[in-house]
Subunit: 120 residues, 2 copies
Protein backbone atom coordinates (compact mmCIF):
# COMPACT_ATOMS: atom_id res chain seq x y z
CA UNK A 1 0.00 0.00 0.00
CA UNK A 2 1.11 3.58 -0.54
CA UNK A 3 1.68 6.34 1.95
CA UNK A 4 -1.81 7.85 1.99
CA UNK A 5 -3.36 4.51 2.83
CA UNK A 6 -0.71 3.79 5.46
CA UNK A 7 -1.47 7.21 6.87
CA UNK A 8 -5.23 6.78 7.20
CA UNK A 9 -4.85 3.25 8.56
CA UNK A 10 -2.12 4.00 11.11
CA UNK A 11 -3.34 7.42 12.20
CA UNK A 12 0.01 9.10 11.49
CA UNK A 13 0.15 11.84 8.86
CA UNK A 14 2.16 11.17 5.70
CA UNK A 15 4.60 13.89 6.77
CA UNK A 16 5.05 12.26 10.15
CA UNK A 17 5.67 8.86 8.59
CA UNK A 18 8.39 10.30 6.34
CA UNK A 19 9.82 12.15 9.32
CA UNK A 20 9.88 8.94 11.38
CA UNK A 21 11.63 7.14 8.57
CA UNK A 22 14.27 9.88 8.41
CA UNK A 23 14.71 9.63 12.18
CA UNK A 24 15.21 5.88 12.06
CA UNK A 25 12.09 5.09 14.10
CA UNK A 26 10.61 3.40 11.07
CA UNK A 27 12.87 1.18 8.94
CA UNK A 28 13.64 2.31 5.37
CA UNK A 29 10.45 1.53 3.49
CA UNK A 30 10.69 -0.44 0.24
CA UNK A 31 10.07 1.51 -2.95
CA UNK A 32 8.10 0.45 -6.01
CA UNK A 33 9.53 0.77 -9.53
CA UNK A 34 8.10 4.31 -9.53
CA UNK A 35 10.24 5.25 -6.54
CA UNK A 36 7.23 5.61 -4.24
CA UNK A 37 7.07 3.93 -0.83
CA UNK A 38 5.20 0.63 -0.60
CA UNK A 39 4.16 -0.29 2.93
CA UNK A 40 3.88 -3.93 3.94
CA UNK A 41 1.34 -5.10 6.56
CA UNK A 42 4.23 -5.38 9.03
CA UNK A 43 5.17 -1.78 8.29
CA UNK A 44 1.60 -0.78 8.98
CA UNK A 45 1.47 -2.66 12.27
CA UNK A 46 4.67 -0.96 13.37
CA UNK A 47 3.32 2.47 12.42
CA UNK A 48 0.12 1.82 14.33
CA UNK A 49 2.03 0.84 17.43
CA UNK A 50 4.12 3.99 17.14
CA UNK A 51 0.96 6.03 16.75
CA UNK A 52 -0.37 4.85 20.08
CA UNK A 53 2.91 5.08 21.92
CA UNK A 54 3.43 8.62 20.70
CA UNK A 55 -0.13 9.69 21.31
CA UNK A 56 0.14 8.64 24.94
CA UNK A 57 3.40 10.43 25.51
CA UNK A 58 6.37 8.20 24.76
CA UNK A 59 9.23 10.52 23.78
CA UNK A 60 10.96 10.00 20.44
CA UNK A 61 14.25 9.10 22.07
CA UNK A 62 12.59 6.11 23.65
CA UNK A 63 10.85 5.11 20.45
CA UNK A 64 14.26 5.19 18.81
CA UNK A 65 15.67 2.81 21.40
CA UNK A 66 12.63 0.61 20.97
CA UNK A 67 13.11 0.63 17.21
CA UNK A 68 16.76 -0.24 17.49
CA UNK A 69 15.93 -3.21 19.74
CA UNK A 70 13.32 -4.24 17.22
CA UNK A 71 15.89 -4.20 14.42
CA UNK A 72 18.18 -6.44 16.46
CA UNK A 73 15.68 -9.26 16.46
CA UNK A 74 14.07 -11.54 18.98
CA UNK A 75 17.01 -11.57 21.38
CA UNK A 76 15.97 -8.10 22.51
CA UNK A 77 12.43 -9.03 23.48
CA UNK A 78 13.17 -8.60 27.22
CA UNK A 79 14.42 -5.05 26.68
CA UNK A 80 11.41 -4.25 24.55
CA UNK A 81 9.12 -5.63 27.20
CA UNK A 82 10.79 -3.40 29.78
CA UNK A 83 10.15 -0.35 27.64
CA UNK A 84 6.49 -1.23 27.19
CA UNK A 85 6.06 -1.93 30.90
CA UNK A 86 7.62 1.43 31.65
CA UNK A 87 5.16 2.97 29.26
CA UNK A 88 2.25 1.27 30.99
CA UNK A 89 3.40 3.04 34.12
CA UNK A 90 3.33 6.32 32.26
CA UNK A 91 -0.26 5.58 31.31
CA UNK A 92 -1.08 5.23 35.01
CA UNK A 93 0.45 8.61 35.73
CA UNK A 94 -1.49 10.21 32.91
CA UNK A 95 -4.68 8.73 34.24
CA UNK A 96 -3.92 10.25 37.63
CA UNK A 97 -3.30 13.62 35.96
CA UNK A 98 -6.64 13.42 34.20
CA UNK A 99 -8.40 12.60 37.46
CA UNK A 100 -6.69 15.46 39.27
CA UNK A 101 -7.59 17.87 36.51
CA UNK A 102 -11.18 16.69 36.60
CA UNK A 103 -11.26 17.60 40.29
CA UNK A 104 -9.85 21.05 39.64
CA UNK A 105 -12.38 21.60 36.86
CA UNK A 106 -15.40 20.58 38.87
CA UNK A 107 -14.24 22.83 41.69
CA UNK A 108 -14.01 25.73 39.24
CA UNK A 109 -17.33 24.92 37.59
CA UNK A 110 -19.01 24.82 41.01
CA UNK A 111 -17.59 28.27 41.72
CA UNK A 112 -19.05 29.52 38.42
CA UNK A 113 -22.42 28.07 39.34
CA UNK A 114 -22.35 30.00 42.60
CA UNK A 115 -21.55 33.24 40.76
CA UNK A 116 -24.27 32.66 38.19
CA UNK A 117 -26.69 31.74 40.97
CA UNK A 118 -26.04 35.03 42.77
CA UNK A 119 -26.40 37.10 39.62
CA UNK A 120 -29.77 35.81 38.64
Amino acid sequence: MRISEASTKSGLSADTIRYYEKSGIVPPIDRGPDGLRRFSPENLEWLTLLYWLRKTGMPMKEMQRFASFYRQGEATVPQRRDLLLKHEQRLQERRADLARCEEVLSYKLAAYDRIEGNRS
Copy 2:
Protein backbone atom coordinates in the same frame (compact mmCIF):
# COMPACT_ATOMS: atom_id res chain seq x y z
CA MET B 1 5.74 35.19 47.41
CA ARG B 2 8.55 35.18 44.88
CA ILE B 3 8.87 33.22 41.67
CA SER B 4 10.64 30.14 43.03
CA GLU B 5 7.91 29.57 45.58
CA ALA B 6 5.18 30.18 43.02
CA SER B 7 6.97 27.69 40.82
CA THR B 8 7.15 24.85 43.35
CA LYS B 9 3.59 25.49 44.53
CA SER B 10 2.00 25.74 41.08
CA GLY B 11 4.06 23.08 39.33
CA LEU B 12 5.13 25.42 36.52
CA SER B 13 8.82 26.21 36.08
CA ALA B 14 9.98 29.77 36.69
CA ASP B 15 10.83 30.05 33.00
CA THR B 16 7.36 28.92 32.03
CA ILE B 17 5.74 31.40 34.39
CA ARG B 18 7.71 34.26 32.88
CA TYR B 19 6.88 32.95 29.41
CA TYR B 20 3.17 32.83 30.26
CA GLU B 21 3.31 36.36 31.56
CA LYS B 22 4.94 37.54 28.31
CA SER B 23 2.24 35.71 26.34
CA GLY B 24 -0.56 37.34 28.29
CA ILE B 25 -1.86 34.10 29.79
CA VAL B 26 -0.86 35.34 33.21
CA PRO B 27 -1.59 38.98 34.08
CA PRO B 28 1.40 41.30 34.62
CA ILE B 29 2.65 40.31 38.07
CA ASP B 30 3.24 43.06 40.66
CA ARG B 31 6.85 43.86 41.43
CA GLY B 32 8.41 44.60 44.81
CA PRO B 33 10.65 47.66 45.35
CA ASP B 34 13.53 45.43 44.23
CA GLY B 35 11.90 44.91 40.85
CA LEU B 36 11.26 41.23 41.49
CA ARG B 37 7.86 39.61 40.93
CA ARG B 38 5.62 39.18 43.97
CA PHE B 39 2.86 36.62 43.48
CA SER B 40 -0.43 36.98 45.31
CA PRO B 41 -2.48 33.94 46.39
CA GLU B 42 -4.83 34.68 43.47
CA ASN B 43 -1.87 34.64 41.10
CA LEU B 44 -0.91 31.27 42.51
CA GLU B 45 -4.39 29.85 42.10
CA TRP B 46 -4.44 31.01 38.51
CA LEU B 47 -1.02 29.46 37.81
CA THR B 48 -2.12 26.19 39.35
CA LEU B 49 -5.23 26.08 37.20
CA LEU B 50 -3.09 26.77 34.12
CA TYR B 51 -0.73 24.03 35.15
CA TRP B 52 -3.49 21.44 35.09
CA LEU B 53 -5.13 22.70 31.95
CA ARG B 54 -1.83 22.66 30.09
CA LYS B 55 -0.75 19.33 31.50
CA THR B 56 -3.92 17.74 30.19
CA GLY B 57 -3.58 19.20 26.73
CA MET B 58 -5.31 22.57 26.51
CA PRO B 59 -3.52 24.51 23.76
CA MET B 60 -2.09 27.93 24.57
CA LYS B 61 -4.44 29.69 22.18
CA GLU B 62 -7.35 28.48 24.24
CA MET B 63 -5.69 29.41 27.51
CA GLN B 64 -5.22 32.88 26.05
CA ARG B 65 -8.91 33.16 25.30
CA PHE B 66 -9.69 31.87 28.76
CA ALA B 67 -7.33 34.45 30.27
CA SER B 68 -8.86 37.27 28.28
CA PHE B 69 -12.34 36.29 29.47
CA TYR B 70 -11.00 36.18 33.00
CA ARG B 71 -9.64 39.73 32.66
CA GLN B 72 -13.06 40.93 31.49
CA GLY B 73 -14.67 40.01 34.77
CA GLU B 74 -17.69 38.06 35.93
CA ALA B 75 -19.80 38.82 32.89
CA THR B 76 -17.75 36.26 30.96
CA VAL B 77 -18.40 33.37 33.33
CA PRO B 78 -20.62 31.58 30.78
CA GLN B 79 -17.89 31.66 28.15
CA ARG B 80 -15.34 30.44 30.66
CA ARG B 81 -17.65 27.63 31.68
CA ASP B 82 -17.96 26.62 28.03
CA LEU B 83 -14.20 26.42 27.69
CA LEU B 84 -13.88 24.27 30.79
CA LEU B 85 -16.70 21.99 29.69
CA LYS B 86 -15.01 21.61 26.34
CA HIS B 87 -11.85 20.70 28.18
CA GLU B 88 -13.67 18.08 30.22
CA GLN B 89 -14.61 16.50 26.93
CA ARG B 90 -10.97 16.48 25.93
CA LEU B 91 -10.23 14.63 29.15
CA GLN B 92 -12.72 11.97 28.11
CA GLU B 93 -10.99 11.57 24.78
CA ARG B 94 -7.62 11.27 26.47
CA ARG B 95 -8.97 8.62 28.76
CA ALA B 96 -10.18 6.70 25.73
CA ASP B 97 -6.73 7.02 24.14
CA LEU B 98 -5.11 5.64 27.27
CA ALA B 99 -7.49 2.70 27.31
CA ARG B 100 -6.88 1.97 23.63
CA CYS B 101 -3.13 2.14 24.14
CA GLU B 102 -3.38 -0.19 27.11
CA GLU B 103 -5.08 -2.72 24.83
CA VAL B 104 -2.38 -2.41 22.21
CA LEU B 105 0.30 -2.84 24.85
CA SER B 106 -1.18 -5.92 26.43
CA TYR B 107 -1.56 -7.47 23.00
CA LYS B 108 2.12 -6.79 22.31
CA LEU B 109 3.22 -8.02 25.73
CA ALA B 110 1.28 -11.23 25.22
CA ALA B 111 3.08 -11.72 21.91
CA TYR B 112 6.40 -11.26 23.70
CA ASP B 113 5.39 -13.84 26.28
CA ARG B 114 4.71 -16.32 23.52
CA ILE B 115 8.12 -15.70 21.96
CA GLU B 116 9.88 -16.03 25.30
CA GLY B 117 7.87 -19.15 26.04
CA ASN B 118 8.96 -20.77 22.76
CA ARG B 119 12.60 -19.90 23.25
CA SER B 120 12.95 -21.46 26.70
